[in-house]
Symmetry: D4
Amino acid sequence: MKTWRVYLSGEIHSDWRERIEHGAADAGLPVHFDSPVLDHENSDDCGVEILGAEESNFWRDHKGAKVNAIRTRTLLSEADIVVVRFGDKWRQWNAAFDAGYASALGKSIIVLHDPALTHPLKEVDAAAMAVAEEPDQVVDILRYVIRGEL
Amino acid sequence: MKTWRVYLSGEIHSDWRERIEHGAADAGLPVHFDSPVLDHENSDDCGVEILGAEESNFWRDHKGAKVNAIRTRTLLSEADIVVVRFGDKWRQWNAAFDAGYASALGKSIIVLHDPALTHPLKEVDAAAMAVAEEPDQVVDILRYVIRGEL
Amino acid sequence: MKTWRVYLSGEIHSDWRERIEHGAADAGLPVHFDSPVLDHENSDDCGVEILGAEESNFWRDHKGAKVNAIRTRTLLSEADIVVVRFGDKWRQWNAAFDAGYASALGKSIIVLHDPALTHPLKEVDAAAMAVAEEPDQVVDILRYVIRGEL
Amino acid sequence: MKTWRVYLSGEIHSDWRERIEHGAADAGLPVHFDSPVLDHENSDDCGVEILGAEESNFWRDHKGAKVNAIRTRTLLSEADIVVVRFGDKWRQWNAAFDAGYASALGKSIIVLHDPALTHPLKEVDAAAMAVAEEPDQVVDILRYVIRGEL
Amino acid sequence: MKTWRVYLSGEIHSDWRERIEHGAADAGLPVHFDSPVLDHENSDDCGVEILGAEESNFWRDHKGAKVNAIRTRTLLSEADIVVVRFGDKWRQWNAAFDAGYASALGKSIIVLHDPALTHPLKEVDAAAMAVAEEPDQVVDILRYVIRGEL
Amino acid sequence: MKTWRVYLSGEIHSDWRERIEHGAADAGLPVHFDSPVLDHENSDDCGVEILGAEESNFWRDHKGAKVNAIRTRTLLSEADIVVVRFGDKWRQWNAAFDAGYASALGKSIIVLHDPALTHPLKEVDAAAMAVAEEPDQVVDILRYVIRGEL
Amino acid sequence: MKTWRVYLSGEIHSDWRERIEHGAADAGLPVHFDSPVLDHENSDDCGVEILGAEESNFWRDHKGAKVNAIRTRTLLSEADIVVVRFGDKWRQWNAAFDAGYASALGKSIIVLHDPALTHPLKEVDAAAMAVAEEPDQVVDILRYVIRGEL
Amino acid sequence: MKTWRVYLSGEIHSDWRERIEHGAADAGLPVHFDSPVLDHENSDDCGVEILGAEESNFWRDHKGAKVNAIRTRTLLSEADIVVVRFGDKWRQWNAAFDAGYASALGKSIIVLHDPALTHPLKEVDAAAMAVAEEPDQVVDILRYVIRGEL
């Protein structure tokens, strides 16, 4: 039986990933979840920590973002489904970038956000197969898509 | 002689496109520029205006975003170079989405933004061939890339 | 300036193509339209007429359908936009086949049909960038997409 | 040994899938079969049931068709062989859409239909590797293709 | 108006290319024809003549075949339609190679051969959109495909 | 450890496949071999036997060749290495077709033939990574490629 | 859990591969490493040893380089990450060739070299996700990319 | 008539490009030549000159190499033929990188170098359609490939 690969992109400061993963586990769904590195500090530091310090913030961020991209690009391109979560804080341009990247690769995208964000996210939503507000809805979609159950 | 195709994505409330287009014209560069529809109101209204009114904001936005995507996806995928401009206002998730989309298609990306945005844009910058602060720098890149002149 | 390529697939027994083509011409839009062969008899006879008679209807249809596919696959794969029209008669499986083919190639699809067909066409509509009821709406989309005008 | 992936698209109101699956199992063929969701009601309701009610039928169908597409596009694109069954009822435009989609992806297509449908299905048949009338013939093809046995 | 690109592969010892090219010119069809180098001696000698003599026949042939491949692969991959002609002499493995190459690229293939060759060419014919016996039939197909005329 | 997939195309009237398979087994190489259906009669009859008799030889061959293509295209496109054997009898256009098909897919090709066939096979050899005369050489290549041993 | 595929290209005269492989093993990382054939003599001799002697050095090298390419192209194209090591001796054009090849395939590249080589390697470094000086840094990147640990 | 696109990569300190361009012009060949920026100083300075100074040599080179890559990747990917010249000085890793990049894109490659470099360039030569020693031979290949003349 196929194990579905689901990549969980976006917001790292709430428990939406856990809720989806627990929901899928409780339902016994054959899903493997991947994510970016969720430790914010490590994610910011990885470039300079491993490859050497930088004086300028630009190159510090640049080195880190590229090391992170080794992970994110690889896992995102192997996913069947990409869930992109937008929270109410921060710019979250990396989440929108991931959505565009996934869209060009022809992935099935599920966007997860509060209705208050509908207008600024309309281009992202337009590229998606589903727009949900709650993690439970993502679990419901996975259960339906994999098993046909409502 | 090749005419270079450059797609100008992002911020629509400042004159950065004009500055790049005028700069390229003044330098006599063989470049054709494309952009999304820049009339904000038309861009928001096109879906319901053409295809019929919607009661919910979500579907109103959805119809419009998809009609706009006919233009943006087509022109973006034909570009040699995609310039993505981030301003100091709004969420601009569509700009980041375009950057991700262009990146997955293997386009050469130039990001244009104020240094103050370096940290939140680090993933976008990491996918770019150049990160500029001023429209003139984009013109300089085009002149160098096309003619080898500094 | 780019000439947009638009492929008009589907129903051949009404004047919807003429209405779109005239509308686009009246608006002075830079669009080149392509279509399958619209002469129904020629379309049915081309295989046996050119390559030799067949006793069985299956091979008669088969030879013809393949000769037609030389045209349709080529033009469809060169299009920026594929308009697929479903009328109220016939099975029109070739129109739905074209829509699926265009979708897998990543084309922007506009579906044109009466609201009465919404339910059986839901999978086709779901793959489209716009669903219209009247040819004039397709002209309006082209004008907006190309010129940004409403 | 390779497990062949076969996607069974189309008609959901007769037992043709069971006949193929049982035939393949009886022959001990290493085949994994996939299908769209076969519960008609769930298939119609999934969008609104999971993502929230809609007043208009169009959006109701739209949300459902997209959720279903997450499943169908994924499984169809992983298949080695796509069998498309056309029955004697309904429009079955989704079946023809799947055939077009599979064709553009270069899949081996087997079409399964009554000879009475030959003329309207000629474009679909022309894209196929085999046109069968009975499920048993599909089993015979699988046995021959996998084991070389007649 | 689109100029169709047609690549004429295979037999170089009869006048079938001239007959097709004249037929298309007489009909005023917008077709550009390409072919491999038709001067047999030059085709055999080009490698050693340009790049230096070889003692072994294997390397002599190898160098020539690769120089020829620069032309054939480029033109074949740009064609809309590939016509492959098999005559009654020689092995003509290069013609069958071209057919396989064109098939994997998704080109529309027309095979041109005497019915006596049907059995040994069945795999090539099975990959074609049309199988013709006379050059005039190829002209007829081009006229129909481009203009819809029989 | 990777299992290498090797597709053995071409001549079906000598024991070259067995010699390669036994040689690889004796060396304990992690290789999975695939081939077309090697029962000549079944290969010729499969179309009409399964899908119904045909009066004309052309359609008899056509139906069979397409059913065989389901197997050959699938396995060939999954191979890491494609070995194509040309013997001293028959036209073997299907072998040359497979070589062209494999070449366009970017497969590593090994051609196996007597030096007497060098000139007519020069285009096929030019697309290959190795040209061998004996099955043992193919085993030696596999051992070297997989284990680095001479 | 995913096993990451890492291809180690370049210098074969120091122990950098062992240091990376041991480091990854010590950290318990789920990585499978591939490399070109590391026995220099075998790598030079494989063509003539298996396929027959050559008088000219050019063809001797040519036959060997192609047999090696069967291995290197296959494994490189299956890798998630390609590490390319440049040492202080030899031309190492094959390493730079591999880097270009990997870059066009969209692989994540890590370049490993002494800072003294920065200027001549700038084009290779510009295509990489990370530029390291020591094998331990590559292990650190793998640990971070796979487990998020610094 | 087709204008052939030829990209001239590699050595910038001898007159080999001029010799090829003049030879092609003298022969009246329909060829458009492209090259990287040939002004060595501009090529080294473009990054910091346009985008701002850098303290470290690494980032100075990095910014420049990426700006250059906008040009080289674009033109190289549009070429029909890529000529790569290796001289007797410098590391020339960018030339080998271009060759690998072109090879993965399926371009026809011609390598131009002194026989003294045969051994270290064997992997690059093995990916080429022709290996020449003098610019005149490249002109001869172009004349033959385009016009069939020796």
